[in-house]
Amino acid sequence: MNIRNEVTFASIRPKDGLTAALGKDRDVVVEEVLRSGLKGRGGAGFPTGVKWKLAAEAKAEEKYIICNADEGEPGTFKDRVILAEWADLVFEGMTIAGYAIGAKSGIIYLRGEYGYLRQALEDKLALRRTEGLLGDDVMGKKGFSFDIHIHMGCGAYVCGEESALIESLEGKRGESRNRPPFPVSEGLFGCPTVVNNVETLAWVAAIFALGPDWFKHVGTEKSSGYKLLSISGDVAHPGVYEFPMGTKISAILKAAGAERPKAAVVGGASGILVPAKDFKRAICFEDVSTGGSIIVLSEDRDFLDILENFQEFFADESCGQCTICRLGNVKLLEGIRLLKEGRCTTKHLQELCTLGSSMRAASKCGLGQASPNMFLSILQHFKGEVLGRPQADDHFVNKRKAS
C-alpha cells in the first residue's frame, strides 16, 4: 500500500470517535467540528463545520451525507488507501455527520476505477449493520437512524465536483449546477446535502476520538491538523505520507526522496507548478493548498510533455456544458502542441494566456476554472523553456516565405 510514514488513522481505535460524538448534542457536534478548524480535504478547503452548520440549520424532511470517493485528480490516491485501510473511520465520519445535520442516509460515491474496493466496503458495512453501528437507533441512540449505501461512478472526473456528483447520483449527465443554491440547501433530489471528501470524514472520526483541540493545535493558524499527501513522480519512495499542515515542500520532498527535483506539481492537473526555488513554500490553505497530490518533476522532464498530458486530460474530462471550458481546453492543447513543434508565435502565446485567465474567471465550475492553472503556472516560471523549440521540419517557415 506504500504508506510511508506514521499515519494518525492507524492509531485511532474504531468506535471511539462515534461513541464520543453520539454522547453529545447535535449542535455540540457541529460546534466541535467548527472549533477543530477542519477544512475540506478534497482541495477546495471549505470549512467542514460551516458546511455542516448550514445543512443542520436547513429545514427539510430528508437530508443526505455524501462521501465523495470519486478521487480522480491526477496524482491523488490517498482516498484509495484510506478506503482500503481505514474505511471504518470514513463510515464513522459519515455517521457523525448524519447525526449532526439530521440525515438518515449516507451515500458513498465510489469512482468506477475503484470497483475492486467495493466488495470489502460492502462487507464492512454489513458488519456495521449487525453491530448496530448502522441502521435504526445507531449505537443505541434512540431516534437516530442512519445507513450508508455505495453508488458506483462510471468513469467521469468531473463527478468529483460536488454538484456534478449530485447530478450523477440523480441519474443524469455529470454536469455541474449553477450556484446558488448550494448543495447544503438544495442538493441531492433538492434536499440539503453535505458532500465531504473521504479524508475529511476520516478526520472527523479522528477528531472526535482525540478531541477537537488536539486537531486545532496541529498545523498553522488557518490550516488545522494533518494532511495526507499522495506523492508520485520522480521520487525514490512514492506513496502516502502524513504531514502536519504547514510543512515545507522541501521537507516533504526530502522525505520522499526526490531525485534532482526541478519543480513539483502540487494539487494535480488542477494544481500549480512550484519551481525548485519556491520549495520553501508550505503545504497549507494559506500558501499552497492541495487535495493531496504532489508530483515531482526531475530536471530531465520536459514541461511541455507534462502540460500536453494534463491538457489532454482536461479536454477529455470537461463535461462540455460551458463554452469556455469545452473549447478553451482544446485551444490550449492545440497551443501546447504548437509550442512543442516550435511554431507558436509570441502573439498567439499571449492570446493563450488571455484565454487561460478567462477560463479561470468565467468557467462554470472548479474543473474549468482550474484547468488552465498548470499552463499559466508553467508560463509564469519557465516561459523561456517553452518558446523557440526546434521544428520537426521547415514546413511552416517555407510556407510563410512562399506567401
Binding site: 449527465r173 477529455d316 469545452r326 485567465s357
Partner: protein, 626 residues
C-alpha cells in the same frame, strides 16, 4: 432605498449594479434585475421560455468578493451584492467565449438563412470581434441533415447552447435532442445521432424558433414555388392561415401584434400567385365537420350507449399534435376527430370542387399554403392525404419563408395597399381566424354547436360571442359550458344525424384545452388513467405554446410577450368580423354554398368523409417509427 422602507418591505434586497443602487424582490435573477433596470447584459443560451442553463458564459458578471465570474441569468439575488457588468475580466471573457464559438462555427454569414437575425452574428458585432485567434473553419465537418420534411439540421452552425434540448424537453415533453458525449466531443444531437425524422420528432419547429443560429432551420420550399410560379402552365394558388398574417409584419420590422392580412393578399399576387384564398374558409368547414362529429359522438355515447367512437373527442387540426399522439398514445387514436386540418381540407377542395368550377385540370394546379408551422410540411406529405387523387397540398410555406419571397420580390409588405381574398372562398368568419391561438378551435366549435343546439344567438349566451372561459395562456385548461334547458329544432344541415336535442337539455359540456405537447401529454396520460380530463367531452390540443401564433414557422424571436401580442391581434381581427360580416362558422355563406352545391349529403356524410376526413397511424415511441 431607505432603511425604513427595507424594514416595511422585508422581501426586497438592495443591490448595486455598476454603481447604481437598486432594490429588487428577494430571489430575482440577477439578469432580470439588470435588464429591468436598463443594463444590457448579452446572453446566448438564455431564453425567456426556458430554464436557465448558465452554460454559454456570455451573461457573466463580476460580483464583488467572488473569485470567479457569475452567470447572471442563473444567479438568484438573496443578499446585497455589488455587481460590475462591464469590467475588464468580464469583457475579455465574453470576447474569448465568442472567439472560441466562432472557431467551431462553419458558415458564411451572407449566404445564411439567418443573416441579419442571428444571435451569434449580433454578439460578434457587439463585442468587436475583428480577429479570430483560434481560427474559423471553412469546410463543413458534418453532413447537413435534410431527411426531415420539416426541419434542416446543420450541426456546423451549432453553438451548443442547448436551447433546442430544453425546448423539446421542457416545453414539448418529447426530448428529441440531448447533449451527448463530453469534453471536446460534446455535441447536441439526437438519439444515436439518427435523423430527426426517425426519432419521434413531431416537426413542431419550436426548436427552430429558439435556435440562436441557423443550426436548425425549416426545410425551404421557396425554389420549388418560384419554379411553379414561373411555369405558365401551372395555376398556382395559395391559402393563408390567420397566424402568419398576425405575425409576418415582424419580419418587416413592425412591432408584434399588427396583422397584415390584406396587405399580404396584394403582396402574394405581386409575387405571382394566381389566386389567394383564406384558410379560414376550411377552418369554418372544419368546425362544421368536427362539430358535427362531436354531436354524433355525444349522441352515440350518451344516448345510444355506443362507445365505438369514444369521448372525449380530440381536435385534429394540428399536425404536430396528431403525430405526437400517434407516437405517445397510439391506443387513443380513436379519440381524435377524423376531420382533416383546415389546410388539408382546402387542398382537397381546391383540386376537386374549385378545379371543376373553374374548369382547370387538377394536375396543373399547384396548391401552396402559408402556415405558421413546420409540421404542416410533414402533414402535406402524409401519404393518406391525397384524396383528390393528387397531393392535396403541394407545398407549405412558413411565415419566414413567405417573408423571404416577398423581400426577394422587392416588396415592403407594410407599405402595400390592402386587397381582398379571391372567390369562391373569399368570405371568412371570425371563428376561422381564432383557430390561430390556443382555445380558438374550441371557442369556434362551441359558438356553432351552441347555436345548433339552442337555436339561440350565441351572443345571447356569451357577451359579444366571446366565450372567455376557454381563453387564456395557461398550459392545461378546463371549462364547463351549460346547455340551456330550452333547446331548438335540429338545423337542416345535420338533421340526418340526430332526431332532436332533448338529450342535451341542461347538460354541461365539459371541455379541456392544452397547448404545448408537454401539456398535451399531461392530459393524454390523465385521460388514459381515467382521470379528471377523461370526463371531458371535447379537448383541443395545439402542439405549440400559445397555439399557431407561436408556431415553429413564425418569425424569430418568440417570447410570451410576442405571443400575447399576436394573440391580441387575432382576437382583434375576430371582433372586426363582427362589424363587417359573420363570426360563426355555420354562418359563412361560402360554407353554406359548398354544402348546397358540392357536399350535398351534408357534414360527416360519405362524400365529406371521402374528402374532408382522414385516419391516423399508430407510430409508437421507438426508433424507426417515423
Amino acid at each position: 432605498m431607505s432603511k425604513e422602507k427595507q424594514k416595511t418591505d422585508a422581501k426586497m434586497v438592495d443591490i448595486v449594479i455598476d454603481d447604481k443602487k437598486i432594490s429588487v424582490p428577494f430571489g430575482t435573477m440577477l439578469l432580470d434585475a439588470a435588464r429591468q433596470n436598463g443594463f444590457e447584459i448579452p446572453t446566448l443560451c438564455y431564453h425567456e421560455d426556458l430554464s436557465r442553463a448558465g452554460g454559454c458564459r456570455m451573461c457573466i458578471v463580476e460580483i464583488e468578493g467572488q473569485r470567479a465570474l457569475t452567470a447572471s441569468c442563473a444567479y438568484p439575488i438573496t443578499a446585497p451584492i455589488n455587481v460590475q457588468t462591464t469590467s475588464r475580466r468580464v469583457r475579455e471573457a465574453r470576447k474569448t467565449t465568442l472567439e472560441l464559438l466562432l472557431s467551431e462555427h462553419c458558415g458564411d454569414c451572407y449566404s445564411c438563412v439567418r443573416n441579419g437575425n442571428c444571435e451569434l452574428q449580433t454578439l460578434a458585432k457587439e463585442h468587436g470581434i475583428t480577429q479570430l485567434p483560434y481560427g474559423h473553419p471553412t469546410e463543413k465537418s458534418r453532413v447537413t441533415e435534410t431527411l426531415s420534411p420539416s426541419i434542416v439540421r446543420d450541426m456546423d452552425k451549432c453553438v451548443d447552447c442547448g436551447r433546442c434540448v430544453r425546448t423539446c424537453k421542457e416545453l414539448q415533453g418529447i426530448g428529441v435532442f440531448e447533449a451527448v458525449e463530453r469534453g471536446f466531443k460534446k455535441e447536441i444531437t439526437t438519439f444515436q445521432d439518427k435523423p430527426m425524422a426517425e426519432v419521434g420528432c413531431i416537426n413542431c419547429g419550436q426548436c427552430v424558433n429558439r435556435c440562436p443560429t441557423a443550426a436548425l432551420t425549416e426545410r425551404d420550399s421557396i425554389e420549388e414555388i418560384w419554379a411553379a410560379i414561373n411555369d405558365p402552365n401551372k395555376h398556382v394558388v395559395i391559402q393563408t392561415a390567420p397566424a402568419p398574417r398576425a405575425a409576418i409584419g415582424e419580419e418587416f420590422g413592425l412591432d408584434p401584434g399588427q396583422a397584415m392580412t390584406w396587405q399580404l393578399n396584394t403582396a402574394l399576387r405581386k409575387c405571382g400567385f394566381d389566386k389567394v384564398f383564406d384558410t379560414n374558409f376550411t377552418a369554418d368547414l372544419t368546425i362544421i365537420e368536427e362539430g358535427t362529429e362531436l354531436i354524433q359522438r355525444l349522441y352515440k355515447n350518451l344516448v345510444q350507449k355506443d362507445a365505438s367512437a369514444p369521448l372525449p373527442q380530440f381536435t385534429s387540426c394540428c399536425p404536430g399534435w396528431v403525430k405526437f399522439i400517434e407516437h405517445v398514445h397510439p391506443e387513443m387514436l380513436d379519440h381524435l376527430s377524423s376531420a382533416k386540418s383546415p389546410q388539408q381540407m382546402f387542398g382537397a377542395i381546391i383540386k376537386t370542387w374549385y378545379a371543376q368550377l373553374n374548369d382547370i385540370d387538377p394536375e396543373n394546379i399547384v396548391s401552396v399554403s402559408l402556415m405558421p408551422c413546420t409540421a404542416k410540411k410533414f402533414e402535406c406529405n402524409r401519404p393518406e392525404l391525397r384524396d383528390s387523387g393528387l397531393k392535396d397540398v403541394d407545398y407549405v410555406l412558413t411565415t419566414r419563408e413567405c417573408a423571404k419571397m416577398i423581400r426577394e420580390s422587392g416588396l415592403h409588405l407594410p407599405s402595400l395597399p390592402p386587397s381582398d381574398f379571391d372567390d369562391p372562398f373569399g368570405t371568412a368568419t371570425g371563428s376561422g381566424v381564432i383557430f390561430g391561438n390556443t382555445g380558438g378551435v374550441m371557442e369556434a366549435a362551441l359558438r356553432s354547436v351552441l347555436e345548433f343546439v339552442t337555436g339561440l344567438k350565441v351572443e345571447d349566451i356569451f357577451a359579444n360571442a366571446n366565450i372567455l372561459p376557454v381563453r387564456g395562456m395557461e398550459g392545461c385548461r378546463f371549462a364547463e359550458i351549460k346547455v340551456p334547458d330550452e333547446v331548438g329544432p335540429v338545423p337542416e344541415l345535420i338533421a340526418h344525424l340526430v332526431p332532436n336535442w332533448d338529450w342535451l337539455k341542461g347538460q354541461t359540456v365539459r371541455v379541456g384545452i392544452a397547448h404545448g405537447t408537454k401539456n398535451a401529454r399531461k392530459i393524454l396520460d390523465d385521460v388514459a388513467a381515467g382521470g379528471f380530463f377523461s370526463t371531458c367531452h371535447f379537448i383541443e390540443v395545439m402542439a405549440c405554446p400559445g397555439g399557431c401564433i407561436g408556431g415553429g414557422g413564425q418569425p424569430i424571436p418568440t417570447s410570451p410577450a410576442i405571443r400575447q401580442a399576436r394573440t391580441d391581434a387575432i382576437y382583434k381581427e375576430d371582433m372586426a368580423y363582427g362589424a363587417k360580416s359573420v363570426r360563426k362558422s355555420h354562418e359563412n355563406p361560402a360554407v353554406a354554398r359548398i354544402y348546397k352545391e358540392f357536399l350535398t349529403e351534408g357534414p360527416c356524410s360519405h362524400k365529406s368523409h371521402e374528402l374532408l376526413h382522414t385516419s391516423y397511424w399508430p407510430r409508437g415511441k421507438f426508433i424507426g417509427s417515423w
